[in-house]
């Protein structure tokens, strides 16, 4: 139930992230979510895109180093305490979240959260058991 996230090496200099997003935009690739994580002198740009294969191809051709990792796109119920509920489930089930970032569906009312966990298969089943909805690649295409 995981979806594919693309992580790109971002050099620590002005315009480095823009260079990456420009390549995607120029190739008509829709970026659904983007989060930048920084160390002291470099960063990792993490993104969810409309077409992973096309995105990695154009990034590679443009000389960007990237990797793909599985993440969970969790639908956060649009009610007060919605995110809290999800985090509570993960915490009681002992799932350690490496990082997370928000992701807004276009047509839907729901907000989504991208979670990176060590064992995505286990985490997905735990969430499902608690009635929490996960988006798959097909869902994403519709969102």
């Amino acid at each position: 139930m995981s979806i594919k996230q693309i992580s790109v090496f971002v050099e620590n200099k002005a315009g480095a992230l823009l260079a990456i997003t420009s390549v995607l935009a120029a190739n008509g690739i829709d970026m659904r979510a983007l989060a930048l994580s920084e160390a002291s002198d470099f960063g990792i740009g993490r993104m969810i895109v409309s077409d992973v294969y096309a995105a990695t191809t154009v990034l590679k051709d443009a000389g960007f180093i990237h990797s793909i990792s599985p993440v969970l796109a969790v639908a956060i119920p649009n009610v007060p305490g919605g995110l809290n509920e999800v985090l509570k489930v993960l915490s009681t089930e002992g799932v350690n979240v490496e990082y997370m970032y928000a992701f807004q569906g276009k047509a839907s009312e729901d907000a989504y959260m991208v979670f990176k966990v060590a064992d995505d298969i286990h985490a997905a089943s735990v969430l499902r058991d608690h009635g929490i909805r996960l988006a798959n690649e097909e869902d994403l295409a519709r969102l």
């Binding site: 992580s7 050099e11 002291s40 180093i65």
Partner: protein, 434 residues
Amino acid sequence: MAERYFQPEIETMPREQLKALQDERLVAQVRHVWENVPYYRKKMEEKGLTPDDIKGTEDLHKLPFLSKADLREAYPYGLMGAPLKDCVRIQSTSGTTGKRVVAFYTQADINLWEDCCARAIVAAGGSNESVCQVSYGYGLFTGGPGLNGGSHKVGCLTIPTSSGNTERQIMFIMDLQATILCCTPSYAAYLGESMKEMGLTPDQIPLKAGIFGAEAWSEEMRQSIQDTLGIKAFDIYGLTELSGPGVAFECSEQTGMHINEDHFIAEVIDPDTGEVLPDGVQGELVFTAITKKAFPLLRYRTRDICVLSHEKCSCGRTHVKMSKPRGRTDDMLIIRGVNVFPSQIETVLLNQGYPANYQIIVDRVRNSDTLEVQVEMTPEMFTDNLGEIAQRQKQLVDGLRSMLGLTAKVTLVAPKSIVRSEGKAVRVIDKRKI
């Protein structure tokens, strides 16, 4: 396979006989210089010397040194040792470290230089069956003309591509099935990288040997070039002041370069006192050209730091071996009082699996020297985990600290962002001098 030589009688000459040859040639050369180079004659006179004081190689240490400063002072014609009518060519350095050097050659000088290069090619396995691509620059730079001449003497089919135009280089290597490649080690690494990207594997690449010189390279870099190109990589040493490449070259043992002692006498000296050092002790390499006539430098200080060894070599050559230069007195950076050679940094990088492409930036911030090493991120090293990358970065900082005794800042930069060089790589940017 039995070792082959270009000039077996000279390359394997017994030591006593070789010394007798050097004695005779040195005595004649000192007289030649005394009579033809007033600049050096004056230096000898200042030390109270006449040619009669030099009876053989044991008297060599009495002669005054020549340095790069002398070359500048005597520029352009002050050290010419043959009448203009006998000189047929000049070669020149790039002038990156000061004023350019202009060296002169008689036809005989070119001939002996090409012999030296031919010895290197044969030692690398070359023969008249070889296809030898010379990707050193042609022109004023000695690399192209020297190896080109040597390749002709061996009888190789010579491809004079000169440097640059990587696509064309690769096309010639593949189409003509080149077996020997001559270029700078950084360009060899770049060609290897490009061929790998094109999907060519070492067993598809026809090259068998490479002769790489004109810049410092480490043992680790040799390994990496050998692996990507599927070749045996041989070092070659030389400098324009002494003719060009081929002053010394590596044999199949790959444990040092045999100096062509029938043409050049080598000494290693203490760079501070000028005192001659014994075998195995590291110091500045000094050469005396005993056969060249148009630019006959005696006791020329190369600024290269290395060690000499007279130990018997398994290849059968009797000529003394010099270690790969461990640095140049002028490449040496003094950072916070510590001597640092770029080659030391390269060793650490390659040991930890980084590409050979890097840049060293030295600056002075608030009266204190800073050292920054920029390396390129590679797809193999990249992961989604920030912590893992930071950990690798720290490992590199630690590795550099134990090698140099200094803390360096390590910056990871985007792939291909460090300019690739087609000739000598620009490794060091010393902003303290700007």
